[in-house]
Subunit: 375 residues, 4 copies
């Protein structure tokens, strides 16, 4: 296969990012089937037409079912609101298409399970949009961990905050409802953190948690001076990983000043690694070696030594951006298709992330320890 | 009272810091009784003599009971190993002396309670060595919180790490035993963090916790190839404060690269404050005001606008050091004596901190939620 | 014009960046003629074919003159070695094409002057690749300066360092010769810094300078154990701007640890702005307003409030990357073409930058003050 | 000699710092004659009495000549306005006293020369208050340079800024006059930077410079709506060191946001060191060794491995403060007295610093290169 037909559903934040990624991936990497941007779906039809022209797609539609069944489409990108993912993914898989689905997978574990089941019986390749896993800095952190550079892992701490729900005066929206948004900060942000935690330390065995809704109501217009916020603004958990490592994680969508604070520190018995996505091209490493007088955290700027950075830019320290991570993610799916093996994180991989965030939500509500194998 | 007689027990890390603090406090502040460095106690007697001369004390002794009963001594500084604090404090209070005791108060809550009881029936003033509370940056953070600068408090996160127990090859010492050291990282480090958390947010109502001993044994010489470590290397907790705020705290004495990492972030509904003791002269503040294009964390360098910095140095950004905090602490006790009111944190105040760290240890061992009022 | 035909000469670092930029610009901005990637030129022909396929161009050639005269090509991107720029630009302009030329313009001022002259008599639009001018953080810095946020400008300091020539053991290459490379660090790096300095403060009136070649020879293989380095590794200058402001600039291509250190601070009588391209999504601003106790440098993370960031990503703090700056640069040229007005920096604008770097080189060699209007 | 009698002239910023330093030095170091705080001089007499009591001196006087001739005084600390230094130092040396003089030495080179001459014919020990030389972080930087850790030195950049003269509305004071203040930023701040530059790289051979007075007049009360500022607010220079290294330095007393920004970077052919006094307990080191993927600037927190830090605090990262540097400086003088050898920087050493700042001022005014051996 020299080329591959792309269908994109959705034109918002993630829709544009997917369009840019599939437009750039062949030029950057040069080793995968070249995407043909075949069909873009949005509603109303005029919007589909407009974005189709802007994003460089050949055709537009307002019928997502037509898109997933379009014979020119080999791979479907699903960037719609989370509650729509399950039906669209299942339909795309039923139509034999490869699937690139945004995170989180679904509002409920049942829906997510249905997607895993659909993927299981098909040969299609799938990937879920945990884009921060594809940051060269994170890839390097994983390599340092697996190399033993920081020794035996003993502790993990992770955080993910933004401030888009920090203002008490923001009006009530569908985001505040379980029916339309599902989880709160856990679904928007926390799942990204869990993707990194599992990627660095391994599967979670059990956890205890605390969740808070700090803005319990929000203004809702003239008729409803306020409406309740049903899901959590802040969630924190103490994790027991299967390998015996302990961890602390916390996420807030109401943290003033935090714009893309996805940060972790991983403690080993020989060293420590720190990272913060707000400085996504930097990794800090402390190793207990050499004279004590020279020890300290080394700030590593990513560069060609940290693949696949060099395919974007041959000069170190020049920096990748947020959209570049989606290009690497698209490459992960395209090369899986090329090689006929699973991409990572597939729907099945991502289901493990979903289980953790739902376990945190339940543990927070019920005040009890949750075993992941009982979720 | 124009002068005040000081007796110091102990000449280690904290002993020297106390000697420097009481040597400098009058010159820095100019508004308190001038300390007379009367008696220094250490063992063996030659050590007492040597340090007495170096630290500028008038006399030396190896008998701490003689020191606490010395009529020239008005104020006793107790910087001995933690297991000795209770007996010494109780004797000093019985002798009618003011007491400056290092933290933590004792190995057990029962011992700590006995100290509070001793203080309760006396008119003497007491202070416990939670020196980081006296950092002008922290004092300013408290002011910003009480001023409402960051609005209603919604969340707290705090961390305190060092790496003095990070190396797996360190030999076994008395620090590893409950009988001689009591708690692990909670007693050494965690209590400092709790002092800041309570200072910023208020009393803790309940908590759940996780504790880990990551180096379960340590080499113990030829006869004992290894001996068990009985107390925790890492402790983490999810806090419910009495005012409904939730918090996350974590402490490790085995965190490579961390030297004095006592850090917190406090989230309000109008802003956030961040601090890290490794940059003890800086405070970071985000406030949701002014145009969005200009918002960001402001790095405030402490200066004369942040009392009592200006009494050490009239120029901002020139920086206080660790020992200066003990001088401010000494001033807090001396001015309490001068004004005949309680210093803060007194033994009674500090007992609340002790209860929290013991609650964390118990919650971590038992896996259950602990109510502070049941401790 | 709905679309515009692009011809790209060169496939190295900058060639790939141009290809990505023209591939993405319409999707990102949506308001310019859509680029058609028509012809790519490289040598040998197989290389042209390979990169043409990878980068998504319709055709390949190894004959740059054919490309510049190709009727389907409206805009020529010139990313070849600097010594080739003048001939190619002049030919492209003669053929009536718009020109996107990489920096620096040429090895000599005479060549650069010829390019300005060619552009002068044509209606074509031109832009030179000073990509850092297009960083939203820099655009915002300029806005803050012109808004008067930091008051009257009183001083400028700027630096640009990398370490690609820091290793004394690197072999001798053509970069070391005046005939093939022209200037040293001034041509590679210093010109970028000058572009920012002029952009923030205005034209330079005169300067004094110091240049150094710190590695005077480099190993040159078996026959020539070493060959001389003819151009400067480090250049520094004290600038007098036309408006009376003084400035200090310094550039090194031999500065270990520096990867993309293009940094400046601009001092006003009401505040200061700091920037470092190694953290290209951050801008630091100090303004003397509000209480002294709250003043400090505010670290602004770029976001949608800093155009055109929001067209790449609607969420602040998620970060643009190096390649995104070239996309904004391409947009500047395409919108100039659309609106039939000059882009900035045009060849004429860039010539002012060339004059400054050549003045620095001459002042450094001759030890005298250089007036820019005598260059 | 077991003890040494101290006489202190002046009770301002530096006077208090000296008092604290001589009060603490014996307790911290334990290896020098113990200071007896004998006489404090200030005017009027009541001020002398008050500060004498506060600072712990035995006696007070308002007659500095009486102090320098007091038989109980062995060492005279001179912290008066700079224009008074020469007469006082010369008198103290004539009386056979050791001298601890604040920087800069004097308003004119002639006065400074007279002080060197006075010291030359005496056996007394002298030191000038270049306190930043005594920062353990700086001492370690010098060690790294002399060890060859960063290889052959190729370049130096240094900066020193504060903002105490940044506000255009500040009233005119004696600081603005050459007769009373001498140089501007060069005398207050620039000399500190030169002390570090010489300490790291070696003597300066020649320089070119630029000086600016950015606030040319200042408000001067009702009768004089404004008066001229006679000395420089900003000074910058390009240095040629005797060993062939080139350097760039710049200093401003009008740099908003800068509180104690005394920063340098020293470039070697194997690495680089960076430092900023606003984070005085940190040193950043880059060395070209090990895999490229792990290289970066290492942030070293000072600790007991960086003498004499450990005498203040046995725990790394706990931080020294500004006043601690003066204690180390006092120790340098006391141990020189104890060992009967010269302290560093003596008056003779400091004279080399004075020559450089006066050469910068002259070069800036005259626009010509200055050879240091002609100053």
């Amino acid at each position: 296969m020299d080329t591959i037909g792309i269908g994109l559903i959705g034109t918002g934040f993630m829709g544009k990012t997917h369009a840019l990624a599939y437009g750039a991936v062949a030029a950057v990497f040069g080793d995968v089937p070249v995407p043909r941007l075949e069909v873009l779906c949005d509603t109303p039809p005029e919007s589909a037409e407009r974005f189709s022209a802007q994003f460089g797609f050949a055709r537009a539609t307002d019928d997502w079912r037509a898109l997933v069944n379009d014979p020119a489409v080999d791979l479907v990108c699903i960037t719609t609101p989370n509650k729509l993912h399950a039906e669209m993914v299942n339909a795309a898989l039923a139509a034999g298409k490869h699937v690139h689905c945004e995170k989180p997978m679904a509002l409920t574990l049942a829906d997510a399970q249905s997607m895993v089941n659909s993927a299981h019986v098909k040969t299609a390749k799938t990937i879920v949009g945990y884009n921060y896993l594809h940051n060269p800095a994170f890839i390097h952190a994983r390599k340092l961990v697996s190399d033993g550079t920081i020794g035996r892992i003993v502790h993990f701490r992770g955080f993910v905050d933004e401030d888009y729900q920090a203002d008490p005066d923001l009006p009530w929206t569908w985001r505040a409802t379980k029916a339309n948004a599902g989880l709160g900060t856990l679904g928007d942000l926390g799942c990204h953190l869990v993707s990194l935690a599992i990627g660095l330390v391994g599967p979670v065995e059990s956890l205890i948690a605390q969740t808070q809704t700090v803005h319990k109501t929000r203004p809702a217009g003239d008729d409803h001076p306020s409406k309740p916020v049903e899901n959590e603004d802040i969630a924190s958990a103490l994790l027991s990983f299967e390998n015996g490592v302990g961890g602390v994680i916390s996420s807030s969508r109401s943290a003033w000043g935090r714009k893309c604070y996805l940060a972790f520190e991983i403690h080993g018995d020989k060293g420590m690694i720190r990272f913060d996505q707000e400085r996504m091209n930097e990794l800090e490493l402390y190793v207990n070696q050499g004279p004590k007088s020279a020890q300290g955290f080394t700030k590593i700027l990513t560069g060609p030594e940290h693949p696949p950075y060099g395919l974007f830019c041959p000069a170190p320290g020049h920096q990748l951006g947020f959209n570049d991570l989606k290009t690497i993610e698209a490459h992960a799916l395209l090369s899986a298709i090329r090689d006929n093996k699973q991409a990572c994180p597939s729907l099945a991989d991502a289901f493990e992330i979903e289980k953790v965030i739902h376990a945190i939500a339940e543990a927070g509500e019920q005040g009890t320890r949750k075993q992941l194998n009982e979720i």
